[in-house]
Symmetry: C2
Subunit: 380 residues, 2 copies
C-alpha cells in the first residue's frame, strides 16, 4: 500500500470518446481498464482511496451501445495529467492502449483550460487564402514528382504549374535530401521558377517544400525554406512526430503555413477497431499539432477511404476546438480532372484540391492542363 | 511524357519483405502497386523507359504464397532513394502504403552501404552490462509510479528499489513534466536517492528518466538527465518520432543508453494485415533508431502479444544488422514474480525483466520483494 498523498488539482477534466468492441461485458472491461492503463498503470487495489484515486484515475462518464454492435465510452481525465504538452496529452489519450486491439479514439472533447496550452494552426484557412489572394474559391495544389528528376527538372515543372494557375506546388513527399535532388538546391530552384512564373502571370502561387528529415535538421530546413522564399512547408507527422509539427508551427522564425502529410501514419486509421477515427486524427489532432492543412487520400482514388470518412475529416477540420482555427482538408491520391465537379459538390469551396499525376495525364500540355483545372474551380 | 533524365546510382539496393493479403492476383497487384507508390508515386506510363524506370522504381525480387493464405513479396529499392536518412528510409519502407490495408512489413534486408549511414545503438547489450556491472545475468528493471505521487515520494520508492537490488529504475512512461512531479525535480531527487542506496548496498543501480516531451525540449531534458547523473534515458518513439530517438542516440553530449517505450506505437502491430511485424518494429527499426533496449508487453500479461511474437522480438534484437549492436528486449506489462522462472526459460540471460506493480504486490516490504526478485534471477 502506498503512503497517503496530497494531490490538489483544478477539477477541470478533458474527455476522450472511445469506440470499444466485444460483448457488453468485454467493452465495459476495456473501459475500466483504460481508466487505469492510461493513468496510474498500477494495481488499483494498492492505491488507497485518496487523492490519486479521485483525481488521477480516468473516469467513465458514460457508456452506451452503438449501432453495429460496438460500444462507446466517454472517459475523462484531469487536465493536469497532460502536463499541458502535446506528447503527454496524446500519451494519455492513446499511449499504452494503442497496443490493445478493439479500442479506437473517436473524438476528443477538450476544455479551454487545456486548449489554451496550444497555439494550434498559425494560419488556418484564412491565412492560406490571404497568402494566395484567393478569398473564396477552392485552392489548387499539385506535386513535384517523380522522384529521380533533378532539381532543375522539378523547377521547370514548377514553373509550368505556376504559370497555369495552380495555387500551391508541393514537393512529392518522397523528395527529401537525395543526391539527385538535394533539398537546398531544390528549394532555391523551385522558388526562383515560381517567382518568375508569378511575375509573368500575376498569380500568387506558393511553393511548399517537404522538410521531413532528420529530427535535428527540421528547424534548419524550415528556416532555410522561409529565408529562400518558400510560401509554406510540408511535413509528415507519422515520420517526425506530431509534436515536431507543433514545434515548427510555434517557431516565430519559420512563420509559414504547414501542410501535414499522412505518410507512415496510416496504421492508425486502417482498422475500425484500433487507432483513431478520421475525424480525430486528420481533424482534431492535426489542428492540435498546428497543421494548417491536412493531406489525406480522397475516396475513389488509389486508396480505400470512403466518402463518409472523407466527410468526417472535413468536419474535423472545422469543428469547434477552443481558439484553434479551422484548417483546410487537402484530399489527393489518384485524383483526376473529371472528378473535380463531383468533389466540388461534396467539399464545397473550403478545400485544397491536390492533383499530381492527373494533371499530367489530362493532355499533352502541362500548362494548359493547369489552366483547365483552374477554370473548373473558378466556374463554381 | 517526361523529358529523358540521367540518374546514375550505385546499383546497391535494399529490400523489404512484405506480407500481402488477398487472392494471388490481388497480392500481386499490391506488390506492383508498392513498387510505384513507395517511389515515383506517378503514372508509370508517363515515365519513359529510362533511368528512372530502371533505377528508381521498386522491383519485385520474389513473390510466393505463405502458409495460411497470405503472400510474401520481396521488393528492392535503390539505397540512394533513402537519402541515407532514417525518416526517408522509413518513408520508402512504409510511408504511403501505411494507408492501405493488407500490407505488412515483415523484415528489412539492408546492405552495408546503407547501414553505414546509421550508428545504431551506442551502448547495446554489452554497454548496459558494463554500466551495471552485471556481465552475465538477466537485468532487473522496475518503474516509478503511480502518476500523482510527488517527486519526493517517487524518490523514496526509487531508494527502496535500488537498495533491494533492482538494476534499473525507470520512470513510468506517464511521468512527463506534470505539476505534481516536475521533470527536473524528479530527476534530481531520484538520482540522489539511488546514489545513496548504491553507496549503502554496493550495487550499481541506474535511473532512467522519461524524457518524452516537447520536440524542442528533448535534447535539453536528455542533457539535464546526463548532467544530473541519470544512468540512461527513456523515450517513446511513437510520440516523439523514431528519428528523434536516433538524434538523441547520436548526440555526444548525451552519451546515455536509451530505452525505447512502445506507447502510441501499438497501432503498427495490432493487426496482422497492416503495419510491421514485431520482429521488424521492436527489433530492426528500434536498432536503426539507436535504442539500446526495447520495451514491449510480455505474453500472458495485460496485453495480447503471443509467446511466439515475443520470441520474434528477441530474434530481432540480435539478428545480424551490419555493424549495429544487439540490444536488450525488455518485456513488461503485468509481469509478476512467479512468472520469472518461466520467462527465464524463454528469454535466457540476455533480457531486461521489467516488473512494476508486481513488485509491490509480492509482499508488504518493497525492499524485500526486490531482494527476492534479484535472488530469483541470480539462481539461474
Amino acid at each position: 500500500m502506498l503512503p497517503p498523498t496530497s494531490v490538489d488539482l483544478s477539477g477541470d477534466r478533458f474527455s476522450v470518446i472511445y469506440r470499444l468492441t466485444g460483448s457488453e461485458a468485454e467493452a465495459r472491461g476495456k473501459a475500466d481498464d483504460i481508466c487505469i492503463e492510461q493513468t496510474i498503470e498500477f494495481p488499483a487495489d494498492l492505491v488507497p482511496d485518496d487523492d490519486i484515486r479521485r483525481q488521477i484515475f480516468g473516469r467513465i462518464e458514460s457508456f452506451r451501445p452503438l449501432d453495429g454492435g460496438a460500444f462507446e465510452a466517454v472517459i475523462s481525465y484531469a487536465v493536469e495529467i497532460s502536463g499541458f504538452e502535446l506528447s503527454q496529452l496524446l500519451n494519455v489519450v492513446f499511449g499504452n492502449i494503442s497496443l490493445k486491439p478493439g479500442i479506437r479514439v473517436e473524438r476528443l472533447a477538450l476544455p479551454d483550460s487545456l486548449l489554451q496550452a496550444f497555439k494550434g494552426p498559425r494560419f488556418g484557412r484564412d491565412g492560406w487564402r490571404e497568402l494566395l489572394n484567393a478569398p473564396r474559391r477552392p485552392l489548387l495544389c499539385s506535386a513535384l514528382k517523380p522522384m529521380g528528376l533533378s532539381a532543375a527538372a522539378l523547377a521547370e515543372m514548377a514553373y509550368k504549374f505556376a504559370l497555369g494557375g495552380v495555387d500551391l506546388i508541393k514537393d512529392d513527399h518522397g523528395l527529401a535530401n537525395q543526391s539527385f535532388s538535394p533539398f537546398k538546391e531544390r528549394v532555391e530552384r523551385c522558388v526562383e521558377a515560381i517567382d518568375r512564373a508569378n511575375r509573368e502571370s500575376g498569380h500568387h502561387c506558393a511553393y511548399i517544400p517537404n522538410i521531413t528529415g532528420p529530427a535535428n535538421e527540421l528547424t534548419e530546413r524550415a528556416i532555410f525554406a522561409k529565408e529562400t522564399g518558400a510560401g509554406a512547408i510540408m511535413a509528415a507527422p507519422g515520420l517526425i512526430g506530431l509534436d515536431s509539427v507543433r514545434m515548427l508551427a510555434d517557431d516565430d522564425r519559420i512563420n509559414l503555413p504547414i501542410m501535414s502529410h499522412p505518410a507512415f501514419q496510416g496504421s492508425y486509421i486502417t482498422s475500425p477497431d484500433n487507432g483513431f477515427s478520421h475525424f480525430a486524427l486528420y481533424g482534431q489532432v492535426s489542428r492540435l499539432a498546428g497543421a494548417d492543412a491536412t493531406v489525406y487520400p480522397n475516396w475513389g482514388g488509389r486508396f480505400s477511404f470512403s466518402k463518409e470518412e472523407c466527410a468526417s475529416i472535413v468536419a474535423g477540420t472545422a469543428a469547434p476546438l477552443g481558439q484553434l482555427q479551422p484548417i483546410f482538408p487537402a484530399p489527393g491520391g489518384g485524383m483526376t480532372m473529371k472528378r473535380v465537379p463531383e468533389m466540388l459538390d461534396v467539399y464545397g469551396r473550403d478545400v485544397i484540391f491536390l492533383m499530381g499525376g492527373g494533371l499530367h495525364k489530362h493532355g499533352p500540355d502541362l500548362i494548359e492542363n493547369c489552366r483547365h483545372f483552374r477554370q473548373l474551380v473558378e466556374k463554381m
